[in-house]
Symmetry: C2
Subunit: 317 residues, 2 copies
């Protein structure tokens, strides 16, 4: 019997990663190309399609392509377009789903990368069998996907789940790339924890400002593991704020669990402990001790492809 495979494609500012994924979430084929080598989206599509077709031939027709799932920055589920993505060289509106569908003649679904990863968690990760959860990706920024009653929340225009741009009502919020002040991702992200760390150094140890000029979130994580007070405090402050906002998030959709994914989530107990503590402390009584904050069960290197492919597997499984 011919088995079904789904192509999962993740479009990033630097790399485009794609692969072929079976029903169990096994990646049978995987490839990466440079997104910026293709100033015209059609050219990238042509190369990806060529690779996918070649791979399918190498499998000697044991598999057929059942669909294409795409995760992309500013990807809109409803129209299958990438819409004014600031981190891509493609400007304006790019009908990427249609471009793939025309070439590969299979169902194609596109959404933003955080939504795709959230779907990956539900189909292949720790949220298997869950109907209500929130998925947070703590990378350079903060992305999110919200699942309600087993379905991804896209909202009226396809742009639901932008928790990175919840504004914290501090009087002097940090400047965000979106033009506003106080967005959550300026605090709770790899970039955010670096800012928090540097602010602390500037205020309390001005003599150390210079040597910390180029510190990264990874450095702060290593220093915290070694017991460095400033780094531990930066994690504490990040987790404290994240826990409060997640406690508020529960009041919206009352999830069964929350998953944290991405670079900062890999810091493990350093971020999970203060986040969970603050979360539990700030929850409304009726939610207390009911909602777990879990690390994502997706391997970081596979998550993008699995997430994209799961958009289709969700529909045909």
């Amino acid at each position: 019997m011919i088995q079904k495979l789904v192509a999962g494609i993740d479009i990033g500012g630097t790399n485009t990663t794609f692969g072929l994924v079976d029903e169990a979430g096994k990646i049978l084929y995987k490839e990466t190309i440079f997104t910026e080598h293709f100033p015209i989206p059609e050219d990238l599509v042509a190369v990806v399609v060529e690779h996918i077709n070649k791979a399918l031939i190498q499998f000697e027709n044991k598999y057929e392509l059942a669909g294409v799932g795409i995760g992309a920055p500013n990807g809109n589920y409803f129209n299958g377009c990438i819409v004014f993505a600031p981190n891509l060289k493609w400007k304006g509106i790019v009908p990427l789903a249609k471009l793939f569908e025309d070439k590969l003649k299979v169902k194609t679904i596109l959404t933003n990368d955080a939504n795709a990863a959230a779907m990956g968690e539900m189909i292949f990760g720790g949220a298997k069998g869950m109907k209500d959860f929130i998925f947070i990706t703590l990378g350079t920024g903060l992305g999110s996907g919200i699942v309600v009653n087993g379905e991804m929340v896209y909202g009226h225009d396809g742009f639901a789940g932008e928790l990175g741009h919840i504004t914290i009502l501090f009087p002097d919020g940090r400047q965000c790339g979106c033009g506003r002040r106080g967005c959550l991702e300026t605090y709770c992200s790899a970039t955010g924890i670096v800012t928090t760390y540097k602010e602390f150094i500037r205020r309390s140890f001005p003599e150390l400002v210079k040597e910390n000029e180029n510190i990264t979130a990874k450095d702060i994580c290593e220093k915290a593991r070694d017991g460095d007070f400033v780094s531990l405090t930066a994690f504490k402050m990040t987790g404290d704020l994240l826990g409060r906002v997640l406690a508020n998030s529960v009041a919206y959709t009352s999830p069964q669990a929350i998953f944290l994914f991405g670079g900062l989530a890999n810091a493990g107990y350093l971020i999970f402990e203060p986040t969970r503590e603050s979360f539990e402390e700030n929850l409304l009584n009726i939610y207390k001790n009911k909602i777990n904050i879990f690390p994502s069960q997706l391997k970081e290197n596979d998550a993008a492809i699995l997430g994209a492919a799961s958009l289709i597997w969700k529909e045909i499984k």
Copy 2:
């Protein structure tokens, strides 16, 4: 042909209002009894059932009962129970849906009062045809219902949509009845605007504290209409905060519209103008100028019955 009617029942701390509602949202029969006259829920159920059956007989069998919808404080959709409602004399867990179902032998759905009103807005009010909206009721407290993709969000345990208990991250939030500090409803509600007004008086016009001791939200509304500066400022501060939180709410579910209902919403432009202004100012770019904040289209006196009845009409229409 025998037409269908649905019983809508609203359980409040003081009154229980119920009625019979046809498919078009017309209330053909309506009655109110005192909730607190019935220390045992079974007794209240018996009286309501008796009234409903009598009314149906008076209609000379032109109508049949197609279901019962109930809105109740702390009502849980999943198990049909009222769960530890602080404003009711019935303690613990009351299986109200089952009590009605056993007597009337028709499908019975229970949820909390704000969710029921939100459903009423969708089936009979201004959200007709909308699939994604947020409904806010600004009464003594702040209740809410969130609709995503045409379905009410109940969440994992049936208690989603508690925006009144979003905490505002001010360092010294107001004490809330839930035991925490800084909950939205301590600011944006009839009670909240009174507190805001009194705080302003205490700080700026201490000589007027005594004469304003028993001021109500209604009084503040009237004074604001007459141009009173303190009252206008209280509305401005309330709307400013509500607008900010609603702008954040959009980042969760990306609604098409937001509806405001209840006593404070009846203040009209006094609350809508500052709320809309702050909302638009605080929205993330991708949402700007896309989402309307509307007054509810449900008549205040009918909303509770219509909302409760719409729980059933949603299913059988």
